[in-house]
Symmetry: D2
Subunit: 289 residues, 4 copies
């Protein structure tokens, strides 16, 4: 079904705000006979910054894929001091998944993938524990076991990074991967590592957030998907959601109830990323329509 | 606080979709030196229809208020077959409230109004029951009691309509007004009468929706605000929300819990209408950002 | 993990309300040295009906499994005119899943099952279409393809019912099974067939509810899990939930967004059923804590 | 409407868990011919603590109001080491409201009170700013202005506490009262001062939580009502809820959207407190059905 959709170009932009930006960008596309299928923009009045995502069909467009970037750079991006990226919908992103012992987020991603809902390729699943090997096998995806200890962490991460490189991985999903990623790894995938944290950040940073939530006596628990940065659990938030709990809940029932929120919140973030609908600026994520 | 905001013009448009519409409209404003403060657009691919709301500051704009409409009509609206409206933010809408016996929606609207959150004038409150006279008095708003019986309904509606006209009413909020409005009245205020129905329409149309909900054993109850049309509870929906219920709930506790949803849903709809963010097309409401 | 939990007895009761019912039931268990681990009761004041679920550990209980039912019947159930059922937590329910072409609910149930979150056995998956055969295979569960046409429906249902019987099926989950079940089949599994309907019933009964929702212009879509009765989409509701939509949504995006709600709502209903927390009375479902 | 309800006694209990507690308590009431209208209990397995709320009609009960407490103490509370409280539904709680400049929570409470939804008396409103004097006047409730400076704080609090005492205040609602209450004041009203904090605690403790939320780039904002303790924003949570925000939101629109959540969350907490449905243990609040 996804295959039959017409191929589109997707432009994501941010730049200092000024008058006429929407008109300039849309004019560029329409002058070249592009049929716009999606357009969303946002002006951050506080930062005086303009954000835009525009998607148009390549069929009939008068510039070839290769000509678009230089033409846009010259005509608009340079004069407007734009930071921008250009993607094509027929370029299927290659996604790696990293896991530990829990299966709920992994299964959810793989089920969407297998069901044709998530237009990605998944060349590898990397685990620091053998538990998820069987799930990977169910879906015929190579599983790489790289156990992590204090002693071997640096070494194992090098292997992980080589795996990512060898498999041309575009972005990485930490599907309840219970290890901290080193700065070098993060720098290699800026705003391209998506984590799911099992609390509504910034509440309950760090280990065992449901136990922290239980101890605090909250009436809501939740989950946060965010891009991973060097600061633990402090990266730009993509999506959050919650579920009600009560005095009847224990840390164990919170863990159980939380799983549903975690997997849905993570999936929504991955879907937005894959659809090239996210844009990070100053530790915040614009999520376009 | 509202008063200090710069005066803006607000243009709402819909027309057959074609290329370049966003560029044409934004260009019209920017060519005349307008500073755009909000822009939202939507293309309904199924109906091939384009929708747009654009708001810009009048200060520095090179057309006077009076010149905008004819200039826009000539340059863009006519060639693009647009249906459109133009409003100015310093034109405070005049809102009438119609009520029966229940106070929660009325109080909520008046509290927002008094707290400076709802930029409207409220020249009159019309009740078909004396119960709300005292609330109107608390807020120093003239209350008109027009009791309705089968026999006098047509006559009383004429008085209501005259009241609306004499008070230059722009739009009417039915804040749990438990009477059906006649077609003539509705035609006089097309998409300008906002009702709150105490169910998530189209479930539980008509009388006593909480009792219907109780009998059906639902796990959620809710409320719907919509523009009133000739078909009962079938007008274009502006906003909906829900609250959980359980087997512990009776029709009475549902009525009580539902009040909070009703008043919030109604207020959100009124706020969207007052901010000129709604646009009705084919019995649906586009609610712009 | 589930396996290590102490074995419990679970008693679900309803009867005409009268004084002292909680005391009588808890006294029966405690007199026999039972350790109550969960207790929830409800009195429906409108129907004057009492509902109760009580769960206690069998370890140390002075009655054997076999003795409990006759003792309870004699001492309490008969004098109090109770309708009741007794279950033991070490009796793992046998669940059949029926599917058509869509995979999201099926994957979600199987992932929970495989992840040890759903204490059931799943001896068979029955499909009216071959699409889900592969998913069943991934999880090593026998898949029975029984295509349905107008002509063969009665015949195929007989085979389905024989399959259920041969596999000692306790209850059946219709995981987006797009066929109407005949009355005979339903009668064989009273309150033991769980369906997921992709709307917040009673809105949008019948076919293509998302298309109906799109046409009505709603701002919320949702899902309802319910026990199947002879009246289409009118059985006792177990669980419901919703997700927001906007004018940007098409029937296709509603279908996509709705999938997440459907699978979570269905899973919650199945979990409640499996934990013996549901009790149907007069077309409503009490869902105990 | 409230007045016509039969008078009930409400018993709230917690004690070390042991077998037979529900039976003992219900038996005590039913032996004395009490008609139980509500019963809810909870066992905290982690703390081995039992919690119960039971409500029964006094009409026909064989003990007078005065006899209940000593009888219960002797027969059950002492042997079971219970901490307990007894209330009667015809004893209308006297509630004070403390406010600063914002009207939304105040109006919401007063509207419920005036609408007969909140069975309390409101003898006084105390403000540290004159802004809310007019609202108090609208509802004919005495308003006491006690401006707070660093220098006069201790002195003004003494006057506040005297006001509370002179007016026989049972509990105090801080309806966005932007001052920290001193420990002495708090100790005089243990678990009887209800605050609304405009974040989902423990996120964004302290000043300007919406600005903190904006800076963190969250996708949800919320509110928390809790009993006030000596630790700022760390008291036992009664209720929480959230609302979605996006990159379009500024601190100002968050403040505006948050108001609706704040007032509803505060009202739910106050309603639970007034209905004697809350019970604090170890910095957590059990909220009974």
């Amino acid at each position: 079904m996804e295959k039959e959709k017409p191929v589109t170009a997707i432009l994501r932009i941010h730049c200092p705000d000024q008058r006429g930006l929407v008109a300039r960008v849309t004019d560029f596309i329409q002058r070249n006979n592009g049929n716009v299928v999606a357009l969303d923009q946002h002006t951050d009045k506080i930062e005086s910054r303009f954000f835009m995502r525009i998607e148009w069909e390549l069929d009939g467009f008068e510039l070839t894929k290769e000509q678009i970037a230089p033409a846009f750079q010259h005509a608009i991006a340079t004069p407007c001091h734009m930071v921008w990226s250009l993607d094509f919908s027929d370029r299927i992103p290659r996604m790696a998944i990293m896991v530990s012992k829990m299966s709920h987020c992994l299964y959810d991603l793989l089920a969407r993938y297998q069901g044709g809902e998530l237009p990605v390729e998944i060349p590898i699943i990397v685990g620091n524990h053998e538990a998820m090997a069987e799930v990977a096998k169910q879906f015929d995806i190579p599983f790489h076991l790289l156990k992590i200890t204090k002693e071997n962490k640096a070494e194992q991460e090098k292997i992980q990074m080589k795996l990512m490189k060898d498999n041309n991985i575009d972005f990485i999903v930490l599907a309840r991967y219970m290890q901290i990623i080193s700065d070098d790894f993060i720098k290699a995938y800026p705003n391209r590592i998506i984590n799911i944290h099992h609390s509504t950040l910034p509440a309950f940073v760090g280990a065992k957030p449901y136990h922290q939530a239980y101890n605090r006596g909250v009436k809501l628990i939740g989950a946060t998907s965010h891009y991973v940065t060097a600061d633990l659990d402090a990266g730009p938030i993509i999506e959050q959601d919650i579920i009600r709990v009560s005095h009847h809940d224990t840390p164990e029932t919170m863990v159980q109830k939380g799983k549903d929120v975690e997997k849905i919140v993570l999936a929504r973030a991955v879907e937005a990323h894959v659809a090239r609908k996210t844009l990070v600026y100053m530790n915040k994520t614009v999520v376009f329509n």
